[in-house]
Subunit: 187 residues, 2 copies
């Protein structure tokens, strides 16, 4: 799994032996478009890294409206981290926008890795820090940017994601109606 090793080595170098050991704690999961990775009210015992495909993490409120928390495509991690960290039931759902292939690691194995390998604890610490900052940026965007600015910003950050997203999902992520989205200029 060359791309996964590259993913880790963007942050920390690992030896062949170390990588072999790390990789032995992961398994592979394949899902088809529309299949669920995480379902609301179910247990969440795994973290996932996307080998290929595209997924969305979302919540549907009482009025049946979908709000998108996160997308994940190649090279991104995804799970319901609230449920995963606290061993509570999922409060969001995650399903596949495209056929997807994922690396899967159980919470037990991830914690084992982090307690055995200093470098991996720091790898996941840094990944979490990067994710934290991305979420802060999204909060500021939601608080102070208008729909056009949000659209432009998303395009700037992840142009390749925008091209793969159905418009309805893009609108749900930006927090605007499908009608508002159709009035926005293509960035």
């Amino acid at each position: 799994m060359n791309t996964f090793r590259q993913h880790i080595e963007k942050i920390t170098p690992v030896t062949d032996e170390e990588f072999e050991y790390i990789f032995s704690l992961f398994s592979i999961k394949k899902l088809r478009k529309h299949q669920f990775l995480v379902q609301e009210d179910h247990e969440v015992t795994n973290d996932y890294w996307v080998i290929s495909g595209l997924l969305k993490a979302y919540h549907i409120n009482e009025d049946g409206k979908m709000h998108i928390l996160q997308f994940a495509m190649e090279d991104w991690w995804i799970s319901d981290y609230q449920a995963y960290n606290n061993k509570t039931l999922a409060t969001i759902s995650i399903d596949c926008i495209e056929d997807s292939e994922l690396l899967v690691i159980s919470k037990e194995n991830k914690e084992k890795l982090c307690s055995e390998m200093h470098t991996l604890a720091n790898f996941f610490r840094k990944k979490s820090n990067i994710g934290y900052v991305a979420l802060q940026q999204r909060i500021l965007m939601l608080l102070e940017k208008n729909p056009q600015e949000r659209y432009n910003r998303l395009y700037q950050l992840t142009p390749q994601l925008l091209q793969r997203l159905p418009k309805t999902l893009l609108a749900a992520y930006l927090g605007v109606s499908r009608e508002t989205l159709s009035r926005l200029k293509q960035p």
Copy 2:
């Protein structure tokens, strides 16, 4: 610094010797109400843990409107993590709502701690995971909850924070006008 040791030991036990070493890498900073901890466009080389007091992290947009990213009171960490992680200039400001006393650690010393002490790498990893989930919850709240629901939720999570916050800041955090806030029911 008993409370700081307790803060660490909520996640991982440390020996007297280890704690003494950890603590030796921190210094103490005292600020008065209205003083800045971080200023937009300045360098951010430190992370901060609040011993006492109350601070706000915020951004002021082109129209002069303040948007609040985060508060921090006793036992919370705060910094401009985007600037801190990426060695870029601050894009937010952080100042004191009350006189505040903080523990300060430089990025160099924090990385040193995390590379020397396995347990500390895992401590900061878990703190970052907890922060990540809190931000996800805030995003969902901004996307799908009305002002009254946001107010109730904040009260539920941190009743002691609400009592200490001026109404103007509370409104800026909830993303509503001062007028809207005054029409909300006290949770």
